[in-house]
Symmetry: C2
Subunit: 532 residues, 2 copies
């Protein structure tokens, strides 16, 4: 393959005069990956049916969202992927501010002694910590041009690259909180964190990822619980209304809780392969961190009490959920509310004169769309053919594509293609603007409805362990089942089937039943699934 592509390239771009053609060919060929990009555009994606996992990996790279880096488990978020993440960040940021939160920034390093302070939290993250032990490199006396860690520059206390920031933040809150007048503290941070995962996948599980983490301090338990619930609902609203991904709101079992939390709320989404994906979590931390860092406040009555806490976060993992929820075998399908380009216009022309006529025709449309805050791009790149462009914009998930050719000029029409349904229609120039506005709304609604229908048809009530295993194996999705409430049963089911309890739904119905595994009594159903 590489030989062929090098040859194709060679023919297209022959060596300059004076360049020895054999050297040139070898240079081209030895340059690893040389023609990978040229090939990627013309080659189709692996289909979901063929290999869902491979489809995902290819899609992320080919659509220009992200790629692996030279650093184990760390990804490069490419410009197109980052532009989507930026939109998500900006919308979430506004939602946080509208609910009374402020942003701040805390150090990336957590001294080991702080990290140890909250025992469960420390235990939960110790196994996947990047640890800074030295603060200097020096020339390696044995290898010219190489560097080595300077043994003279060993830190007295090791620093953990934050896997989450409760420890460093609560050590700070200690000095900020004296009396009830200092509460609540409602702070959010946008940051990078590092968890040394062994098996990584772009966006879904990476050693370094970007996220936001809210950390709040309250005078009462009720307020802290309310905050955790409120932020879980903010996440649910964002994921459903903007990402177009329906979620189940629930609480985690004790086993699945955040390390250091008394209660974890979560939103769980379902991907097209029937596996669940935890899209966001919000924790009621009780007084665990207040006790670990001795954070007390003087009440109005003059008593001293420990402070109550919550924390909550979503990460670049949401990109994985977004990609897997809507995309198809042709590529990405983006919800209009998050698409960096919502409408693309492709001219179909022969010669500069026709192109100029098309430019004049679409100029007022471009203007009108921009005034309505619709992100529009006119692609007059003359090095690529329209067919290539169509293919590329399908791959990149642009919601609406307009094509304009000679016939459209004559008839005052546009060929309008929508990405979600892959359908086309001819639309009159007279009502193209309202048509596009409506279409963007329709697409946003449609992809949500489609994902919802899929999700709802993949919540199966099962009443025996046999049925559980059979549905899990053949259909996937969420299994709504009775469970006896013990971590032991939960662990055994996980061990035997890989399915975990995704959540105890917030709208769980009281219903007497027997545990599918142990036969012991249960008061209501919980949702199991295999998960990312």
């Amino acid at each position: 393959m590489l030989i062929i592509s090098t040859f194709v390239y060679f023919v297209k771009f022959p060596p300059a005069k004076g360049v020895h053609f054999q050297n040139y060919f070898v240079l081209l060929h030895t340059k690893y990956n040389f023609c990978a990009k040229d090939f990627s555009m013309s080659k189709n994606l692996t289909s979901r049916a063929e290999d869902y996992s491979k489809w995902y990996n290819e899609l992320v790279v080919k659509a220009g969202l992200a790629e692996s880096s030279g650093v184990r488990g760390c990804m490069v978020i490419k410009p197109y992927g980052y532009a989507i993440w930026e939109r998500m960040r900006d919308i979430l940021d506004k939602m946080f501010k509208d609910t009374g939160h402020q942003n701040a920034y805390f150090p990336i390093f957590v001294p080991k002694s702080y990290f140890e302070a909250e025992e469960k939290n420390a235990e939960g993250f110790a196994k996947e910590c990047a640890v800074v032990t030295h603060y200097r490199l020096k020339a390696d006396p044995n290898q010219k041009g190489k560097l080595m860690v300077d043994p003279q520059a060993k830190l007295e206390e090791e620093l953990i690259v934050r896997p989450t920031s409760e420890a460093i933040i609560w050590n700070t809150y200690k000095t900020w909180i004296q009396s009830y007048r200092d509460l609540p503290i409602l702070i959010n941070q946008w940051a990078n964190v590092v968890r040394w995962e062994m098996r990584t996948r772009l966006f879904l599980r990476t050693a370094e990822f970007l996220w936001q983490e809210g950390h709040t301090a309250h005078a009462t338990q009720a307020e802290a619980v309310e905050e955790a619930q409120k932020m879980n609902e903010v996440y649910a609203t964002f994921v459903e209304q903007y990402m177009g991904v329906p979620v189940v709101r629930g609480r985690k079992t004790e086993t699945e809780r955040f390390a250091g939390a008394d209660d974890t709320y979560c939103i769980e989404a379902l991907m097209q392969d029937g596996k669940a994906l935890q899209a966001g979590t919000s924790h009621f931390l009780g007084q665990n961190f207040a006790k670990a860092f001795d954070v007390k406040y003087a009440t109005k009555e003059g008593a001293l009490e420990y402070v109550w806490a919550s924390s909550w976060g979503v990460s670049t993992r949401l990109m994985g959920a977004l990609i897997m929820s809507h995309s198809d075998d042709n590529g990405l399908v983006l919800p209009p509310l998050l698409a960096p380009i919502q409408v693309v216009i492709v001219p179909i022309y022969k010669g500069e004169e026709q192109l100029q006529a098309i430019r004049e025709r679409i100029s007022p449309l471009m203007q009108a769309l921009k005034e309505r805050n619709i992100a529009v791009k006119f692609d007059d790149d003359d090095t690529q053919k329209p067919g290539f462009k169509f293919h590329e914009y399908e791959l990149k998930g642009i919601p609406v594509r307009l094509a304009v050719g000679q016939r459209d000029l004559e008839n005052n029409t546009y060929e309008v293609a929508r990405r979600d349904t892959l359908t086309k229609e001819s639309v009159s120039g007279d009502n193209i603007i309202t048509h596009i506005e409506q279409l963007l709304k329709d697409i946003q609604t449609n992809i949500y409805q489609k994902a919802l229908a899929y999700r709802d048809s993949h919540i199966t009530e099962v009443n025996s362990y046999e049925e559980f295993k059979e549905v899990l194996e053949n259909k996937g999705g969420f299994l709504s089942a009775h469970w006896d409430g013990t971590p032991e049963t939960e662990a055994k089911i996980k061990e035997e089937t890989q399915a975990t309890i995704r959540c105890i739904p917030l709208d769980q119905k009281e219903e007497a039943g027997t545990c599918i595994y142990s036969g012991k009594p249960s008061k209501g159903r919980v949702l199991f699934a295999k998960a990312y």
Copy 2:
């Protein structure tokens, strides 16, 4: 002092019934820093004349901008400081996008072998690198509840926490660039970086800081140089027009260049104590990184050539420049274009009825200001007196403060105070909106003009080394002097006086002269100063 403040607090918030008063007192008192905040508001800042450095440190903390953390050299950026940084970031981000750049994100870790690849860059940063050597902690068998680095989890290759990202980014660009069609690459990243500085100061020099770093790749030398110049000018525009801080545009000497650059452009500002501050730099990197990472592209003619590069960055250091340029002994002075709150309204009232009347009076004004995108806050907190609030908003640098009392209600007036001049006037309600709009513009202009006048009166032409040392000692500021162009002379002057060459101004005049130190010939003056 702590005893007194604890006692004041104790009287104000006596212990609840049943709480032993002595225990309560001891608890209050032993809680370090307990009343620091209460005191900080009532105690004045150290004046600039008394101790400029102390004034700065106090101001940063008391105005709620940032504070030291428990991690050596790392700061906590507090909500008010972060809100200002956010505004700076958003404006810069738009300027980058308007000049054709896209954002992306690259890993925080740089494998040692990448780091070594560009020799000068590696040499320049090796001495201040945080190095990750292990990826796991484990329970310490000798100390219950303590963790230790797991010796089994030693990395095969050490990872450097990025001090700057050229190495990791050029290792990525290698796979992105094959032909001239892939160029230019115009990418920016917003990120945290770590440089293990030994003497740190909030915002000015911290071990971890936030910044943006642009990294571009070009087909020709001319394009890369043009990019570096263009971005230096973008920085100059931002710092002057938004921050209200005049800058000298220039180039660095070889000694002061970025490690790995062929040329460094910079903008230099002057602080109120006569010391210079480098506010931004933009580097022409030549083909240094392309050669280090073997990044070649096929030209249109089919030859293979190394790629040309630029990189450019500004950081949270700009916060230091902003604070030190305009602020006074009463606190921060913010340019309206960066102030998170531009207008604050303080009611002066007795009883709920009067407050309600004031609320009704200002409600349409608040509405009108918000419609004009003016950030306004109405402070009806009834736990603080107006005098306290005036003091606080002065400390926080809110550009315009309105007070409304009974007399203002009767006369349809507002008392309008401007922060930059500390003057007050009574303004009729009939033209309060246009008055405020004009005032914000005037303040923005005025603080720039004031800083410019100070800066211009502190550029002194000196023609002998005696004069140089005399002006440096007694007046400070920029010294415009002839220099023989050698690193040796530059080093000796630095050693003897602590002054460095801040830049060779872009508008340097050709002027024959003799070096103030060596007496050798010089073709033009350069700017020396002591610097942050």
